[in-house]
């Protein structure tokens, strides 16, 4: 079950183990549960549980290749967070620049 709630994204990102799993997918995309469990101080069950939470937050997407389930980093929700706040700041900056340009060009009523 995927939650469309932005809370799910922040809750999923709030855990250092889950961020570490995302780091591992960022380094190598498309890994199986077995590959992801290697060299981690976590049980397979714990990794599986974290992946379920990441998948529910839509931070991890999956595809089946034969009987293997491959996990991918899905940064789209992180981009939505970027768009929601950073994008807005950029708009304001552009407006400020636009106002400055009008002032310098002597067109106050522009």
């Amino acid at each position: 079950m995927v939650s469309l709630d932005i809370d799910a994204v922040f809750k999923a990102l709030a855990d250092p183990s889950r961020r570490r799993l995302l780091d591992r997918l960022c380094a190598e995309n498309g890994q199986t549960l077995t590959a992801l469990t290697k060299n981690l101080q976590m049980t397979r069950q714990a990794v599986a549980k974290h992946l379920t939470i990441l998948e529910a937050a839509n931070l991890v997407s999956t595809v089946w290749r034969g009987r293997e389930k491959l996990h991918y980093l899905n940064p789209v929700p992180i981009h939505e967070i970027h768009d929601r706040w950073i994008g807005k700041f950029e708009r304001q900056r552009l407006r400020a620049l636009h106002d400055l340009k009008r002032k310098l060009e002597g067109r106050e009523d522009g």
Partner: protein
């Protein structure tokens, strides 16, 4: 089956028809996809081009339509214009559109990319920007300002 290099998913409050249309209608793509026009008749075997909307002779990406099942599934190849004639240099993009509760699940799978290529790097920067811009555009009618300008690459 190849192991895809990228698998992106976004959930959009919209209908499969609108999401499909947003991928294939150049008048819509220009509003959220860096002012680019996706041009084709979208029939299997046809060519498609990713053009600069204001200057259609400028083409960034070319390819062929492999599968076209509106409004559910679109598979296209993806290459630089210089590589248009070399099929082995075409990567492949699959768009899967599925109703999901009250929303639409759009899954974009990109595979057959050359390891270490510029294309692979650009793709990994590009899809998340394009997909979140598409979602915002369909849900609010307003594109993200950074995705309406013409840029070769998405902003850092």
């Amino acid at each position: 089956m190849d192991k895809p290099e990228f698998v992106y998913v976004t959930y959009i409050l919209s209908t499969p028809e609108k999401v499909w249309n947003a991928l294939v209608d150049g008048e819509v793509t220009k509003q959220y996809w860096f002012r680019r026009k996706n041009a084709s008749d979208w029939k299997v075997g046809s060519k498609w081009e990713h053009q600069d909307y204001d200057n259609p002779a400028t083409v960034d990406i070319v390819g062929k339509v492999v599968e076209s099942v509106p409004p559910r599934r679109l598979v296209i190849t993806w290459a630089l214009p210089a590589d248009a004639a070399s099929d082995e240099k075409h990567s492949r993009v699959t768009f899967e559109i599925e109703p999901f509760n009250e929303t639409v699940r759009l899954k974009v799978t990109h595979d057959r990319l050359e390891p270490g290529s510029d294309m692979l790097r650009d793709i990994s920067n590009g899809w998340p920007v394009v997909l979140s811009s598409l979602k915002t555009f369909l849900e609010t009618g307003q594109p993200m300002p950074m995705a309406t300008r013409r840029t070769t690459h998405p902003p850092e």
